[in-house]
């Protein structure tokens, strides 16, 4: 064994020390992608239609929402997290705007406290 090999063994270069972790990480990414046989177009039209339905009942915070595919143990799931700004009350638009005004008054932060709705 050359001295340089010996030194490398004592002080392994961080680059190749944990290459197995790197392999696993890269595979996790690539497998999630490979397994998702649903095209991005399909996802975005699904997202639009689901939002349309949900928007009939509640105001969804579109900026904060999450919508996508996840892989776990060979099962692909659609994960949607749609934070609700407020619940719409059927046939009473006035109450809605009043509640909304009250909620916002005196609060510096523009986003109102909300209960995120998660569907799994």
């Amino acid at each position: 064994m050359k001295i340089i090999d010996f030194l490398e063994m004592l002080f392994p270069r961080s680059g190749d020390k944990k290459s197995s972790f790197k392999a696993k990480e890269r595979l996790q990414m690539v497998l999630a992608h490979d397994r998702a046989t649903i095209t991005p177009d399909l996802i975005s039209s699904m997202r639009r239609e689901i939002l349309e339905v949900v928007a009939r009942y509640v105001d969804v915070d579109i900026k904060e929402m999450e919508f996508g595919l996840e892989n776990n143990q060979r099962i692909t799931s659609l994960i949607a997290n749609l934070p609700i700004r407020q619940v719409k009350r059927p046939g009473n638009e006035k109450i809605k705007s009043k509640v909304s005004a009250d909620t916002f008054s005196g609060v510096d932060n523009t986003s109102p406290p909300e209960q995120p709705l998660s569907e799994k």
């Binding site: 996790q28 490979d34 397994r35």
Partner: protein
């Protein structure tokens, strides 16, 4: 009821044919009747690894063409009672076999054997579809390498889509000293990524190459070796026995690995 098992991997060169020949021999050694089918038309090698290449007269294509009976094409292994090989054609175009024809042959074979083990070609094209058409079970062979694991995942997805639900994993060419130094993914890593049950772990071992050189399955040529034991264990697990997995955590590592282990590094 005979079991029809396809051995496949997606990626080439991970050891499908080596696994087929050694596992076939190990199952036959347990007293079962085993027919090995080489589905790698055009690039056959199973006859070579079994040491039967000089005894091949007819192939699966001759059976399909009606030039011989199925029984005539089967090459009996004289060393192991109950082990036969159905060779693939070497000379003709591999596109000339259709899945339905393959199914006919394998179904006919199933009448006389406990196990039909089909050695699939690499890739996911027609040859692969031919090899899985009659299969009820699959053994996925992979190595702890990034490309092999990715291709294994593709193949598992395709098998599931074809309704082959009994899928087990064989991780081949494990190098324990590299795993200890985190230079190779561990069997656990591969299992976590692929999410199918493990049925065998085979160490990277010189005995495997020596046995292929001689055309002598490990169970015959070097039955005491570590990989021979690994194949024997897989055969027993297929038979429904609970056999603990071999622990290769080894003395193979160099002195510093050992020191690190002692000092908990």
């Amino acid at each position: 009821m005979s079991r029809i098992i396809v051995i496949t991997s997606g990626k080439g060169g991970v050891g499908k044919t080596t696994v087929t020949s050694n596992l076939g021999a190990a199952i036959a050694n347990l007293g079962r009747k085993v027919a090995l089918v080489d589905a790698d038309f055009g690039l056959r090698n199973l006859d070579l690894l079994l040491g039967l290449e000089e005894r091949v007269v007819y192939t699966a294509l001759d059976v399909l063409a009606g030039e011989c009976r199925l029984a005539q094409a089967l090459v009996k292994d004289k060393r192991l009672n109950g082990l036969v090989l159905l060779p693939a054609a070497q000379n003709r175009n591999k596109e000339s076999v259709e899945p339905e024809q393959m199914k006919t042959i394998i179904t006919a074979l199933a009448k006389g054997y406990d196990y039909i083990i089909v050695d699939s070609p690499a890739g996911i094209e027609l040859g692969f579809r031919n090899s899985i058409v009659a299969a009820k079970e699959a053994l996925i062979v992979t190595t702890p390498e990034i490309a092999a694991v990715r291709d294994a995942d593709r193949v598992i997805g395709l098998l599931e889509a074809e309704g082959v639900s009994k899928i087990n994993l064989i991780v081949n060419r494990i190098k324990p000293h590299m795993i200890e130094e985190n230079k190779m993914m561990s069997v656990e890593d591969v299992l976590e990524l692929l999410g199918v049950p493990l049925i065998g772990v085979i160490p990277d071992n010189e005995a495997v190459i020596v046995s292929t050189n001689k055309g002598e399955p490990l169970i015959l040529g070097d039955p005491g070796s570590l990989p021979a034991l690994a194949f024997k264990n897989i055969a027993q697990r297929l038979e429904g026995e609970k056999v603990p997995f071999l622990n290769f955590a080894s003395d193979q590592g160099n002195i510093l690995t050992k020191l690190r282990r002692i000092f908990g590094g």
